[in-house]
Amino acid sequence: MANTIQKRKPTITEKIGESTGSMVQKTQESQIWNSIFRPGSIFRKGYTDSPRNRSYVIMNSVLYHLHPVKVKRHAVKVSYTLCLGGLSFFLFILLTVTGIFLMFFYRPTAAAAWSDIAALKTSVTFGLLVRNMHRWAAHLMVLSVFLHMARVFYHGAYKAPREFNWIIGIVLLTLTLLLSFTGYLLPWDQLSYWAVTVGTNMMGFSPVFGDSVRFVLLGGKQIGAETLLRWYVLHVLMLPFVIVIFMAIHFWRVRKDGGISGPL
């Protein structure tokens, strides 16, 4: 009478589900797992959406801890910043990733540069796509940095206590232009060669040291094989190195100066 309810045999899928469940639980309890995922990680056992865990997410991540645990409510309004500074930074990361990819297939010599770029289209998987992304992301970054500067100005966000960060921002704008300009030469085609000729001719007009600066940058009186190597090193190593330092100061100062500027 009491046994009218028959015990159903668990199906295969249920069995598998059960064993994976216990496996997941065991893994999440293991020391290795817990040493990798710090408190606040959604991969930890018993993760819940609590104020404490929300704080841990930021504090315990090397990337996110650029941010404070809490930000002003108006700061998360997209309509205020349009995320322009953030977009510039994302584009910089995108440019770094695609740039590293391109470096595998490029030799900065007058004899090989152009054909290496041309070969991206024909003999490198996704070569053309990655080059396109690098090119367009670079133009976008110049644009977004410009717009970011305009946004900051129109919000009066350069005023005290953010004066110094505004100057860092101007340095970053200049560095962005230089990064874009040095990259412009690297395909070594008619477009890049003459655009850089025009650009560096302007530089030569500066008084006193103009000609010597131009000579050092070009590695000669006019653009040649030496220029290509110099600009390559500037483009892939030196300017990124410098801009990363300035970006670090920029982001740090945003926090130190009390987050982004107040509501209007």
């Binding site: 995320c83 953030g86 584009l91 007058a110 992304m133 085609d189 025009v198």
Partner: protein
Amino acid sequence: MTEIPEHLLKRSKSAKAKKAAAAGAEEASTEDTSKIPRALLERSRAAKAKAGGGDAGGGAPSGGGAAPVPAGPSGGGVATLAPPVALGPDGHTQRLLTVVKSGSIQDIKSKPVDKVHTWPHLLAAEFTAALFIMAFTLIFSIFINAPLLTLADANNTPNPAKAPWYFLGLQELLTMFDPMIAGVTLPGVVLVVLGMAPFVDKNPSNKPEDRKFMISLMTVHLMFWAVLTLIGSFFRGPGFNFTYPWDTGLTGIFHL
């Protein structure tokens, strides 16, 4: 008055609503909802009456929460109260002389700021923006190829030879002024003046209506460069002479 943050207002509102609801319930059925059994209450009342010599009648009001609340802010920071009606344990009258408001003695330097957790409020927006810009760049790159002209040739100057678009404003200036001025002095001055902006502009307000002059100045400045860049990009043909884009075609756009 200081601005009270939204979340504090919300919290106080909900607390008030809760209190009002609780008070209503208490009034409706004081005895029934009380956790203290009726018999015990009766006994304590009797004991109190005995101790007070019978003069206190029904005894002190049992509801501790019914203590009088200080009157609203009187501006001076000190609110005096009418003699209270509550009686102490031995039937003595207790008198609240003054309430000293915190602001009158303490100097509160940091105002409360309305804040939200970075995760998820800010990070979610940032992830979305990052995905959007990735998707945009990817799709744009699938359909539009970066230009690659023929191999660089120092003996074959293209006509017109143009700088990258962000320097075309400068190149445009070169057609009007001496290269010393257009190529070096002017951009240098612009950068220095921009850098000095926070030290020159002493106006502390960031409200647009308070800074009409600076905003117009910046707008004119930005428009100046934008117009020069557009002219340099689309209105300059062979020999860097002025042309209309409908005569020569939008060649500039293919030379980014």
